[in-house]
């Protein structure tokens, strides 16, 4: 009974602190509002785009300049309207980043909490393994796997990215759980016979909420960069699934880059805008997390 009340009070407090921080940090507040508005436009807009508008190729409409023939931002190499492509690409890229962030969070929090809580030999072995994965040339390995995996699709990309990028989250959570398990409330819980699983996931993890929220926003920005970067190189989302990276890929041809900048600049600007907004929000959230950790 008492525990429940404590947790509720904490989350309520967290909301208050976040609101206060956003009131104080105008840049973060404006980033938040404009990002929400932008996401609404993207997701609602993209839902109304019929599939043939970004799948069918019509060479006749290739590289039409902006404001010509009703194409507000012109058309790309496949004759698709850049504005339409932008809607669908942004939605796809965001979905991938959201999925990867959630997956890495789940894996990272689970393993991080278990290793940090129990410690000992298991923790030591696990840390050696993650040390090792961290020195691997991950980007190169992902690119190779993308080229050799048969029936490669968006889901494969999500799983591939998550398979390598959960380690950062895991190590962060582990180090926090390690210090958290030394606290009195955990010791008290242990002596009163609370099962370990309950202590870990109902008592320790909720206390790390603010940290997890802050880190996951910044991870989300990072994942957008990784996915669009891979797609830009041609090893991300498969052709036929538009991504902001695929759109920017037009810039690899010097002639297209200079003569037809409308094909790639809009996508690049969208990435910069989204990532910047997330960074500003994430910074404010991180300050909240620091305050919360200090007050606990």
């Amino acid at each position: 009974m008492f525990k429940q009340i404590k947790i509720k009070k904490n989350t309520g407090l967290l909301w208050e602190t976040i609101k206060r921080e956003f009131k104080h940090d105008q840049v973060a507040a404006y980033s938040f509002y404009s990002l929400v508005a932008f996401l609404l436009i993207i997701f609602i807009g993209a839902a109304f785009v019929p599939k043939n508008m970004y799948v069918d190729v019509s060479i006749m409409d290739q590289y039409i300049a902006p404001f010509v023939d009703g194409h507000l931002l012109g058309t790309d190499a496949g004759g698709h309207d850049v504005l339409i492509m932008l809607l669908v690409s942004t939605r796809n890229s965001l979905w991938i980043a959201i999925a990867v962030t959630l997956l890495t969070l789940i894996i990272g929090i689970t393993f991080g909490t278990i290793t940090g809580y129990f410690g000992g030999k298991f923790d030591l072995v696990f840390m050696r393994i993650t040390d090792f994965i961290m020195i691997l040339p991950v980007l190169m390995i992902i690119i190779v796997l993308v080229t050799i995996i048969p029936h490669y699709n968006a889901l494969t990309l999500i799983l591939l990215m998550s398979a390598f990028y959960w380690i950062g989250t895991m190590r962060l959570i582990r180090s926090r759980v390690l210090t958290e398990s030394q606290r009195d409330y955990v010791k008290a819980s242990k002596t009163s016979g609370t099962p370990n699983l309950v202590i870990m996931f109902r008592e320790i993890v909720p206390n790390l909420t603010s940290l997890i929220i802050a880190e996951s926003t910044l991870m989300f920005a990072g994942n957008i960069g990784i996915e669009t970067g891979l797609s830009f190189l041609g090893f991300g989302l498969p052709a036929g699934t538009p991504s902001l990276g695929n759109m920017i890929n037009e810039a690899t041809n010097p002639e297209t880059m200079t003569q037809r900048p409308w094909t790639w600049i809009p996508a690049a600007v969208v990435i910069l805008f989204v990532v910047l907004a997330i960074i500003f929000i994430g910074q404010a959230l991180r300050r909240v997390a620091d305050k919360q950790q200090a007050s606990l």
Binding site: M140, V144, G225, G229
Partner: protein, 319 residues
């Protein structure tokens, strides 16, 4: 001291074995083998099959692995499928380019990041500090390749201030002109990389200075009447550099790894660009060699970092 180094060297052996087995298995999953590079329009398939048999490609995998490893240790990675050159030769020629670009980028990074961190720490909490903090969190989070693209678009193509590809212009004659042209080709990529790469050094050095400032030994020095400048350069700064030194091994080996995005976008023929061209043409012997190279470099980097730390921080040696 020597104990630390020898122990660290021994630790690397199992790591190297695991790394090489993983990469070997990855290489086995790729189509083709080291002899595909020899296949031309006039080669007899039977001859290739004989070569394969002779090289033991029909042996069980652990025998193939030991064979592959001993070849790799002798610097033999087979032939490039598409360029019909020994892989080691191809990598060697590209590695020099990568080395110079990375070296310039690293030097510029330190030249920008260290003064920035000192300046921010000295103005802690003021708007100057805030601006630098925001700058570094932006450059850390933003996808670098987008900035590279804008850099080459604006400064390379639109303004035409810098070349848009290659390492040296064909007109340059004489070593001085050639050197000048080489540096000229590296300025734009190296500066952009340096401007985006300051975050790690900046964050560690800034918080290092802030932590060390309040230590007792600083108060002692001040009480003794040591000048403020001497306190900073000889006491605070030296200790604040420790966390940066901890990373220095990776910096050294990173010079040879190749930057995939920067080299591809700036058209700079280094190892990163080689990796992308190799993977687009499915040149698997080159790819395997490059991944192995990067993995081994990271292992050596970790080892060097530990050894450097043991040299600069005597407290570590006791453990």
């Amino acid at each position: 001291m020597w104990k630390v180094i020898i122990r660290r060297l021994l630790m690397m052996i199992p790591q190297l074995i695991i790394l090489s087995v993983l990469i070997f298995l990855l290489a086995k999953a790729m189509p083709g083998d080291p002899f595909s590079g020899l296949i031309g329009p006039k080669t007899d398939p039977k001859q290739i099959e004989a070569l394969r048999e002779a090289a033991g490609l029909n042996d069980p995998w652990w025998q193939q692995y030991t064979h592959w490893m001993s070849n790799a240790l002798h610097g033999d990675f087979g032939m490039s499928y598409t360029m019909h050159l020994p892989v080691s030769e191809l990598i060697g020629s590209r590695m020099i380019n990568t080395f110079w670009l990375s070296l310039l980028a690293v030097i510029l990074t330190y030249l920008i990041a260290i003064p920035m961190a000192i300046f921010a720490a000295k103005n802690e909490g003021s708007w100057k500090d805030q601006v630098l903090l925001v700058y570094n969190s932006i450059t850390f989070g933003i996808p670098a390749y987008v900035i590279y693209l804008f850099a080459i678009f604006v400064f390379g193509f639109v303004l035409g201030w810098f070349p848009t590809g290659g390492t040296v212009s064909p007109e340059a004659s004489g070593w001085l002109a050639e050197l000048g042209s080489r540096i000229y080709h590296m300025i734009l990529p190296a500066t952009t990389m340096a401007l985006l790469g300051t975050t790690g050094i900046f964050t560690y050095l800034r918080s290092g200075i802030l932590d060390e400032q309040n230590q007792d030994y600083v108060k002692t020095a001040r009480a003794k009447g040591v000048g403020e400048n001497a306190i900073f350069t000889r006491h605070i700064f030296r200790n604040a550099l420790l966390p940066i030194a901890a990373n220095f091994g990776f910096v050294i080996t990173g010079l040879l790894g190749g930057a995939i995005f920067a080299e591809t976008i700036f058209g700079y023929p280094g190892l990163g660009q080689l990796f992308i061209t190799a993977i687009t043409s499915r040149d698997y012997s080159v790819i395997t060699a490059l991944i192995l190279l990067n993995g081994v470099l990271a292992l050596i980097g970790g080892m060097l970092s530990d050894i450097i730390m043991a040299i600069v921080d005597p407290r570590i040696r006791i453990e």
